[in-house]
Structure formats: structure tokens, C-alpha cells
């Protein structure tokens, strides 16, 4: 691949931050209505809203996680700028 040098510690930092964001997005829960509305159609509308919210947040979590893993994987495509001209360790995976 055409890339040259990127700092591994930069990529690690990006990965960690995005993992943290992923956990935050996935931990953001949607409450259940517990019959608070006293009306079937409002309860139904809230349930639809709830599903939409959960799926949207799932997209946030999925995308953040994927980006984090992408940053992580990029390390195997490029050489570590922090190492200067040193290539990958011999035979290391």
C-alpha cells in the first residue's frame, strides 16, 4: 500500500478513544414506558420511537467501533513513524 509512516502511538490513541466512544454509545439506554401513558396509541408510538433510537445509536456504536478497529489495523499497513526507518520486527505478525 502507498502509505509511508504513521505514528503507532497516534493510531493507538485513536483506537482507544473510539473504543471508549463505542462503549458510551452502547451504554446509552432507552427507558421502557412501563404503562406510564395510560393510552394504547401513545404507548405504541413511544415503542416505535424507542426502536428507532436504539437502532440509530447502534449505528453510532458500530461505526465508532469499526473506525477504531480500522485505526488499529492500519498499523499493519504502515511503518511506525516513531521508529524512524525501522521496518516491522522480523517475522512478527
Amino acid at each position: 500500500m502507498a502509505d509511508l509512516l504513521v505514528s503507532y502511538s497516534t493510531l493507538d490513541g485513536v483506537y482507544n478513544a473510539l473504543e471508549s466512544a463505542t462503549k458510551t454509545f452502547e451504554g446509552a439506554s432507552m427507558p421502557a414506558d412501563g404503562g406510564a401513558f395510560g393510552a394504547d396509541d401513545v404507548t405504541g408510538a413511544f415503542a416505535t420511537f424507542r426502536t428507532a433510537q436504539e437502532r440509530s445509536a447502534a449505528w453510532l456504536g458500530d461505526t465508532s467501533r469499526t473506525l477504531g478497529q480500522y485505526a488499529h489495523d492500519t498499523k499493519s499497513l504502515v511503518q511506525d513513524a516513531d521508529d524512524g526507518l525501522a521496518g516491522k520486527a522480523e517475522g512478527a505478525g
Binding site: 499493519s76 521496518g87 516491522k88 522480523e90 517475522g91 505478525g93
Partner: protein, 157 residues
């Protein structure tokens, strides 16, 4: 070899199974370590490079492949350069023959700027093997180490 169809199948499958069990049946010299195998390959590579004056790049990181009982390392060196392909091919052949390899050359005219592509593969038992593909605009050499002890899983896929 007229036998029942079903029996033929059984024999066939049996033969295939037997083939699958590649016998690296004991005896003979022990396998080199990866370090030794790589060294052998690099040595042949450096000799090959020394024999022909083209702008060779730095020795690349090898790729790892499975081989019977272990892992072997390939060094692939491409050079984009204008050159007298036939002469380069012959030089490689002579060198590798002198190193005890059996060389099998061939060629194909692709036309165009590159002209004829000269190819060859070269082997010797237990030693590093080699191959080249050379035309008027590029030189490609591949040196493969002998099979070494170890597992390809220890290396990048």
C-alpha cells in the same frame, strides 16, 4: 484395471488419502532453522544481485509460506529498469548453475515495449531455489529459502 465402479472409487479415495498424508518420513538431514534458511536465501540473492548491474533495492522482508513440515521464506525483488534482457537472463542462468541449481529456462514474446519475457525456475535439493522473469523494461527475481523448521502461523498471513 477393470474392477467394479464402487471399488474403484474406494481405491481412488484411498489413494487420495494416502497422498494427503505427506510423508516427511524421518531420516535424512534435519531441517534448518528459520534463521539459517533465510541466510541461505539472502546469500543466493546477494550473489544474484552482484552478478547483474541494475539498481537493486534494499533486501525486502520475506514472505512466509507453508512447506512440507515447516515454513519457507520468499524474497521477491522487482526492478524497473531498461536492460538487455537476454544477457541478464543468461547471466542469472550461469550463476545459478554454478551454484549447483538445475535451471529450467523459457521465454515468451509479449510484443510491446517489453519485448520478450525471459523466465526460468531453478532448484537444488535442500538448498535455496530461485526464479527470474526479465524483459527489456524490468527484472524480477524470486529467491526461496529451503524449508525450515517452524510454523507459518508464527508469521503474517
Amino acid at each position: 484395471m477393470r474392477v467394479q465402479w464402487k471399488t474403484e472409487i474406494v481405491i481412488v479415495v484411498g489413494a487420495l488419502v494416502a497422498l494427503g498424508v505427506t510423508a516427511c518420513a524421518g531420516g535424512g538431514q534435519s531441517m534448518p532453522t528459520p534463521k539459517e534458511a533465510k541466510a541461505a536465501a539472502v546469500e543466493l540473492l546477494l550473489k544474484t544481485e552482484a552478478a547483474v548491474d541494475v539498481p537493486w533495492p534494499e533486501t525486502p522482508e520475506p514472505s512466509a509460506e507453508k512447506c512440507p513440515g515447516g515454513v519457507r521464506f520468499g524474497y521477491f525483488v522487482p526492478v524497473k529498469t531498461e536492460t538487455d534482457a537476454r544477457s541478464v537472463a543468461q547471466t542469472f542462468q550461469r550463476l545459478w548453475k554454478s551454484e549447483g541449481l538445475t535451471v529450467e529456462p523459457s521465454q515468451k514474446d509479449f510484443g510491446g515495449e517489453g519485448g520478450i519475457l525471459y523466465s526460468a525456475t531453478a532448484d537444488a535439493d535442500g538448498a535455496a531455489g530461485a526464479a527470474y522473469q526479465v524483459n527489456a523494461t524490468s527484472v524480477v527475481v524470486r529467491i526461496t529459502s529451503p524449508c525450515a523448521s517452524g510454523s507459518v502461523d508464527d508469521y503474517d498471513e
